[in-house]
């Protein structure tokens, strides 16, 4: 039996769907033993499992998908840096190839589980791929370490809205203050989702320079866009207050209190009042 045949034999020990088409009778010990043997084969075996994947609906790769996922979980469970690095290198090496995008997306999702900073450059390159930018962004966010650099490498003003959207969101999630200036350029974007995501990202970053931009955007918007933009203003105020920028936070709260006069926005006025009180704002008000 050559190496490839042996690998296939191990993968075939993954569970088989029963008569109900579910994995109802999994032999835990047998599966874990087979996974251990696959890992013993190192990078070649892991990459070999990726080679068994086919686009969903175009063949039977169910056991290979199960195996690759179980390996991702197993290398985390072992807390063994060498296994983890090997797994990362093997998977990262299969990305950006001519494999079907759906297969690459599956591989990326396994990196979302077990990825380390070693995999981030390979994932970063996919941020400009219309089909893979979303899973790549999510995997980078899960990995965290080394992710910011990859997101910052994307020139937002040159990316399409589809590519920019997950990147802006990720920079917001990661509270990447150095990117605030670039994100500010997007708050007038034609794409509604990109515009609102930029507002939220600036708020989550706690970018004091964006206060007037956010307030203006919220004031001009209508419907659910107004609710989202207003929420961004409150979030920014909360983040500024938490960063001890109480004066800046108070200004946002005060403006929201003064402008939200529609009874349907009473909850905004109340939230702003609460926020202002929490920042000691009432003491600054004139008697």
């Amino acid at each position: 039996m050559n190496a490839n045949e042996k690998l296939i034999a191990l993968v075939n020990q993954m569970p088989q769907a029963d008569a109900r088409r579910i994995l109802g009778t999994v032999d835990k010990e047998a599966v874990e033993k087979a996974l251990g043997e696959i890992l013993q084969g190192g990078k070649e075996n892991v990459a070999g499992v990726v080679d068994l994947l086919v686009e969903t609906g175009k063949g039977d790769d169910g056991k290979a998908r199960y195996a690759l996922h179980a390996l991702a979980v197993e290398v985390c469970k072992r807390k063994d840096a060498a296994h983890r690095q090997m797994f990362n290198t093997a998977l990262a090496g299969t990305l950006g190839s001519d494999r079907p995008k759906e297969v690459q997306a599956f591989v990326i999702r396994q990196l979302q589980i077990a990825g380390t900073k070693e995999a981030t450059p390979a994932l970063g390159k996919l941020l400009l791929d219309d089909e893979l930018c979303e899973p790549a962004s999510q995997a980078l966010l899960a990995i965290k370490e080394g992710a910011v650099e990859q997101f910052r490498n994307v020139v937002l003003t040159r990316a399409t809205a589809k590519q920019a959207l997950p990147v802006v969101q990720a920079l917001g999630v990661l509270r990447e203050t150095k990117s605030a200036g670039e994100i500010r350029k997007l708050i007038d974007a034609k794409d509604r989702d990109l515009r609102l995501t930029a507002l939220w990202a600036l708020a989550n970053i706690g970018d004091a320079e964006s206060a007037d931009l956010l307030l203006k955007a919220a004031e001009q918007a209508t419907g659910s866009e107004r609710a989202k933009a207003t929420h961004a203003c409150l979030l920014l105020a909360e983040n500024l207050a938490a960063a001890d920028k109480k004066k800046e936070a108070g200004r946002i709260y005060t403006q929201l209190m003064e402008t939200r006069t529609d009874p349907a926005e009473r909850h905004i006025k109340e939230a702003a009042m609460k926020g202002l009180l929490a920042t000691g704002g009432s003491r600054r008000l004139s008697n």
Partner: protein, 410 residues
């Protein structure tokens, strides 16, 4: 004329705050009044009209004079008029005459729609499980606090449990803190988790998306994957992308009352261990049992009875007055019983917390999510109930706060 910048005096501010506090007890679109007269009508909407939709809506309206003004479902592409029938929940929330939102979508949408509803000033009844992962629940709690809206998760076992004499006694013993960290209680839920019934069928072939379905909107914050009928319409429970199998789906019914009985609405288990085979990447599957321990020693057990050896580490043990010293028994019996829980209707009218409020829902959903994380990671995990983070296991934490598909975010 140059517009003078309006200044708010301290007196005006405080008067406004007091007025706002008074006004919060009426529906957002109604001006004035100190309480809602029984004849007043609340505008209501249902988001997610399949499966439990009508039931969730009926549960929300019980005790309220509510009028259904809008229905929303991603399957309504062929009949949406964006007046009363919608496919996009955001358009529903735009309507100022809607005060109450019933959410009966699959769980991967529960948190985001709940939060958006709070931002739009609506009160919410949300189908269980409250969330798909732990960080979502915290964001829901924060949103409903920030906007002072009413949230109730749509499971009601705790209401009945809280009227039972024995449960009240257990609740008081646990809430008193008199047991300190010496609680010997073991609660075992055996069976009923529908593990096989709601296990997914792996490797199904993609199909064309039905013409009336907005598949991208259905997937929402979860990964956009090829359409497979099983991912939709009840069997969504079988996919990690949308829920967490029978454990998630039945678990909040089972453990929400238990959480109240043992006075754990404010905290979560600290040690979680599961007996299960390696999980499938996409579909939910088999597990044997999960043991969850709280910091005070209380143990909760989920025993599926559908895979592997049954749970045999500890026998069930109730908490009783015998667990206390004579002196502590006297102290306990002098303590008042807990206040009766408010229904959703009572909470909407009084602007107080209902029985199944957001924090309680977050904590009972967290029990389920921790159990599923232990199953999916195949290892014992330790949890910090204050930070709501898994301790010393960054990879397991990736399931505590799962990145969402843009533009959806917490």
């Amino acid at each position: 004329m140059k517009e003078r910048k309006r200044r708010v005096s301290r007196r005006q501010f405080l008067r406004g705050a007091a007025a706002a506090a008074t006004f919060t007890i009426v529906p957002p679109h109604v001006l004035g009044g100190q309480h809602v007269p029984p004849s007043d009508t609340f505008g209501a909407a249902l988001i997610g009209c399949g499966g439990r939709g009508k039931g969730t809506y009926a549960d929300m309206c019980r005790g309220l004079n509510a009028k259904l003004l809008a229905e929303c479902d991603v399957r309504f592409l062929d009949k949406a008029d964006n007046q009363t029938v919608f496919t996009d929940f955001r358009r529903v929330l735009d309507r100022k005459d809607i005060d109450l939102i019933a959410i009966a979508t699959p769980p991967h949408w529960h948190a985001l729609i709940s939060i958006a509803a709070a931002e739009a000033g609506k009160d919410v009844m949300c189908e269980k499980p409250a969330t798909r992962f732990i960080a979502e629940g915290r964001a829901v709690v924060d949103a409903f606090k920030r906007y002072n809206r009413v949230y109730q998760v749509c499971t009601f076992g705790r209401f009945g449990a809280s009227r039972d004499k024995n449960n009240i006694l257990t609740h008081k013993i646990m809430a008193s803190g008199l047991l300190k960290d010496k609680c010997q209680g073991v609660y075992i839920k055996k069976g009923g988790f529908k593990v096989k019934e709601w296990s997914g069928k792996p490797d199904l072939k993609p199909e064309p998306v039905p013409k009336n379905l907005d598949w991208d909107m259905y997937c929402g914050p979860s990964p956009l994957k090829p359409f497979v009928r099983e991912r939709f319409g009840g069997t969504h429970r079988n996919y990690w992308d949308y829920e967490g199998g029978g454990l998630s789906d039945m678990g909040q019914h089972f453990f929400d009352p238990v959480q109240w009985i043992f006075a754990k609405d404010h905290t979560s288990p600290v040690e979680i261990e599961a007996h299960a085979p390696p999980a499938h990447p996409e579909v939910t599957g088999m597990w044997g049992w999960v043991e969850l321990k709280y910091a005070d020693g209380l143990t909760l057990v989920m025993d599926s009875t559908e895979w592997g050896q049954p749970y045999d580490r500890k026998p069930a043990k109730s908490v009783s007055l015998n667990d206390l010293s004579e002196e502590d028994r006297k102290k306990l019996l002098a303590m008042p019983d807990p206040e009766p829980m408010l229904s959703f209707a009572e909470a909407v009218k009084t602007r107080k917390l209902p029985g199944g409020h957001a924090e309680a829902a977050q904590r009972s959903a967290t029990i389920l999510h921790l159990a599923n994380i232990a199953i999916r990671t195949g290892r014992k995990i330790r949890f910090d109930p204050v930070k709501e983070q898994i301790i010393g296991d960054e990879e397991a934490n990736r399931l505590v706060n799962v990145p969402m598909r843009a533009p959806w975010h917490l």
